[in-house]
Amino acid sequence: MHELLLFASVPAHQHHELLQQLAGLTAMQPRHRLERRLVFKAYRKPGLVTTRVGASQDLQGADFQRLNKMLNGGMYYTQVVGPVTKTDFGTAASSRMPASSDADVSMSGSGESSYCYENQPWKLEFRDIPEAGTRSAVTTRLMASASLPKGDIAIPMNAWGYSFVAEYMVEGDVFVHNDIVIFLHRVLLYPSAGSQESHGPRRQLPPYHELAPLERTGSYVLQAAITVQDGGNQELMKTASQHLFGLREQLKSAVRLEQADRLSLDTRAK
């Protein structure tokens, strides 16, 4: 599958207004979305045979082969995405530590029990570096998604040859406009806990208000995306980009949607 994208930067003060404009354009209420995103880096285990050789290879589609090569090539970062809700976040238990012990226990108990790491669903999202040398004014890249088992994802991912790198949170609203998925979002970072970093995904979520936006000004990113089943079909790719241009034209007075810098979306592990 291929993904065609356009991006725009939305300053924080415009966010509310744009939400309303998008709601009017798409005739739907925004769907709020909170996602945990874990970044994994593929590595080649010594002595691991990555590709099967033989007759079975002929049966696989060329696209699949390419994808397989990329996933196992040891040179790409992949993301594991897990949706969460606002109730999954911890309450301000840590800040209430000095309060009376009874209240503290009940508070922290209720705060932590709401999020169950063992039941967290996950999805693997692979994104290639955007295609180079396309004359079209949209960002085009190869993509693939797959659902993963629930619960602790670090173990299966390790077994498949991925190591955990970092994690962050994405907060935003989704709109659907015909074939286009519009995602107005921003990246939130966890408060730095120090020791826990880089060992694995968190089992508890900190209170929501402790998350800090990556972009200090609190600005948002508007992402308009169309996925195309068959990236080799020029006709479809053209239609998809026409749709995106149509949206760009419609939103012209509000935001400027444009192509992203190719290298800023580089997912290769150096």
Partner: protein, 637 residues
């Protein structure tokens, strides 16, 4: 600014002392009419009468009359002549204008030859050299005092006239503006009233200058969605006009009629409870209802096309849905004002409620389909591929059909089972039947994620299932009938699932899927017959002791034919035949001579004993089945 400042626009005319004009007038009369000597009152009156009678237009009419009578060819001639005249006049005017132009150009060519040359005709250029005409100011001869006075008066009069004309124009435009402001105010007030009522008012996408009101349904099929927007135009007097473009203004609605045995027995209401006065609100509501109704009908026809295999037929403006053998439902789109059925049709109001219920349900189902559309639209779309996403037909007729068919089947089965129970009761047998109609329809109890309205509709889109369970006469034996109706999933129609528990006939398994009602009834009758036979055999196993101390014991000969026999040591062999239908239970016994071979006919009829039980006929003297069996079990011929 509270006091309005009035500015006089008309010039003030000084009222001068009018000089006495009587001598002048007398002189005028003398000049026109002659001296006063002959004037009498009579002659003056006669003159006035004459003036009065004379029609001012009489002369014109007389002149015109002959033109009316001339025939068409002459008219055409005349027309051409007049046209020629007109063109001639125009040509002449043109020529004169050209002459004037040439003259002015020649005059100007003295001073500005380059510019004047441009507007000169070629002929003039040839004939007269440039600058050959000059103009000079000539001192006019001094005018007389009287002439100067005249000119003064005339110019004064002109000026006054111009002032008057300007004032008139200003005042006229003021009144026009006032009217315009009033109508504009009215228009905007009405627009605001519409907006305050909660309608969405927006600019029209095509016509950016005009306002529109959105009353349609966003989730409807595109053609109907786009029709849900109408322009709010301003009439001359400022009232609001709802401009729906080319769409006819008539209000239309879907009418539901029920036809039983070729006669109309029910019709749904077609009039709405709209605000009675003809307000803009009413027109918007009517437009909204019409667009909804037309979409409803459109979708029903679309759905009816795929239901051809289930007996649904479509005409140009009619959908016929069969419900049962002798009943069908007709749906058509009619104008609201002529929606009442014609009087010529034989019409009773027996099924009006049914028709209304159907009318309401299809509308609820369309609203549900709209909600489903919204749900589908707001989900992340699948990847773009060459296959176009088609919108499946809405479920409008199918749930209604399924419900009605299911009800019909369940009712008839219930009647059948009740009749059966009556028959058995009259024979002194107990048979308990419990019915659970629409067991599959479970209304949502706990609040689910879906909105309540959707959760309410959803069970009605699933296949319907009703169950009937009953205990038979022999203990431990029971039956269970499941009636399933589905018009959505492929095995369309109604099916009966029979499960039985007959400990005496473990090998009897009813067919798992019965499609016809008669077959299901026959299978049930057969099962009950088997049960009766086995219960007779069971009571017969403990032979009743009569006075002689002897009794016969019945044993089953051919269970599936309801035949039993009793063998006796004394040779009084007997045969019993049980027959069961929904009307009666009949038991016959006759003696047997030799196993299975009846004797001659007349003997048989002489010794035949029979008893039948019917439902409803309650003869207290009649023995029950078991008493009858007991009676015929005596070991005597």
């Amino acid at each position: 600014m509270s006091e309005s400042f009035t500015l006089p626009l008309r010039p003030l005319i000084e009222k001068r002392e009018r000089p006495d004009t009587l001598p002048l007038e007398i002189a005028q009369i003398n000049a026109q009419w002659g001296s006063f000597r002959d004037v009498t009152e009579e002659s003056l009156r006669a003159k006035i009468e004459e003036e009065k009678n004379k029609d001012p237009w009489a002369e014109d009419e007389e002149a015109e009359k002959p033109t009316v009578e001339i025939d068409s060819t002459e008219r055409v001639d005349q027309l051409y002549k007049r046209r020629a005249e007109i063109t001639q006049f125009a040509m002449q005017a043109h020529m004169e204008a050209l002459f004037a132009l040439d003259f002015v150009s020649l005059l100007l060519s003295k001073h500005t030859p380059r510019q004047a040359e441009l507007s000169m005709s070629a002929y003039l250029k040839q004939v007269a050299p440039l600058g050959s005409l000059n103009a000079e100011i000539v001192n006019p001869p001094p005018k007389s005092e009287a002439a100067l006075q005249d000119i003064k008066t005339v110019s004064r009069g002109w000026r006054l006239q111009n002032f008057n004309a300007a004032a008139n124009k200003l005042l006229k435009s003021a009144t026009r503006l006032e009217a315009e402001v009033a109508s504009e105010t009215k228009y905007w007030n009405e627009v605001l009233a519409v907006k305050d009522k909660g309608w969405k008012v927006c600019r029209l996408p095509r016509d950016r200058q005009a306002l529109g009101v959105q009353y349609g349904f966003l989730e409807a099929t595109p053609i109907f969605r786009d029709r849900g927007l109408a322009a709010l135009r301003r009439a001359e007097d400022g009232s609001l006009l709802l401009d729906k473009g080319l769409i006819p203004q008539r209000a239309r609605t879907v009418r539901v009629r029920v036809r039983t045995q070729k006669q109309y027995t029910g019709c749904s209401k077609v009039s709405w409870s709209l605000p009675s006065e003809d307000s803009i609100e009413r027109r918007i509501l009517q437009a909204r209802d019409t667009v909804y109704e037309e979409e409803l009908f459109h979708e029903m026809v679309r759905e009816a096309r795929i239901l051809g295999s289930q007996g649904v037929t479509t005409r140009q403006n009619l959908v016929q849905v069969p419900v049962s053998e002798d009943q069908e439902i007709l749906l058509d789109l009619v104008d609201v004002d002529q929606g009442e059925p014609a009087e010529t049709e034989t019409h009773t109001n027996e099924h009006d409620t049914l028709a209304d219920a159907v009318a309401h349900s299809i509308r609820i189902l369309l609203a549900y389909a709209h909600r489903q559309n919204l749900r589908r639209r707001t989900q992340p779309p699948p990847p773009l591929s060459q296959k176009r996403r088609t919108i499946p037909e809405y479920q409008l007729l199918r749930p209604v059909m399924a419900y009605l068919q299911h009800t019909a089947h369940v009712r008839s089965l219930e009647t059948f089972l009740n009749e059966m129970a009556e028959v058995l009761k009259s024979a002194g047998l107990r048979c308990e039947i419990t019915a659970a109609p629409f067991a599959s329809v479970r209304l949502p109890q706990a609040p689910s994620s879906a909105p309540k309205v959707e959760a309410l509709v959803r069970p009605f889109l699933m296949p319907f299932e009703s169950t009937f369970t009953g205990n038979l006469i022999t203990p431990e034996s029971s039956f269970c009938v499941k009636v399933r109706t589905s018009t959505v999933a492929p095995p369309a129609g109604t099916f009966y699932d029979l499960t039985v528990n007959l400990p005496h006939y473990p090998e009897v398994k009813p067919p798992s899927r019965i499609g016809l009602q008669n077959e299901a009834a026959a299978a049930l009758t057969h099962l009950i017959l088997l049960d009766i036979v086995s219960s007779i055999a069971r009571t017969g196993a403990k032979p009743p002791m009569d006075e002689a101390g002897k009794g016969l014991s019945w044993e089953v000969a051919y269970a599936h034919h309801g035949e039993l026999r009793a063998l006796s040591r004394s040779g009084n062999n007997k045969k019993m035949k049980v027959s069961l239908s929904r009307e009666e239970l009949r038991v016959e016994t006759w003696p047997l001579h030799g196993v299975g071979v009846p004797r001659r006919e007349e003997d048989q009829s002489a010794q035949l004993r029979s008893q039948s039980w019917r439902s409803g006929s309650s003869e207290p003297s009649r023995p029950s089945l078991m008493e009858f069996v007991h009676e015929v079990s005596h070991d005597r011929p």
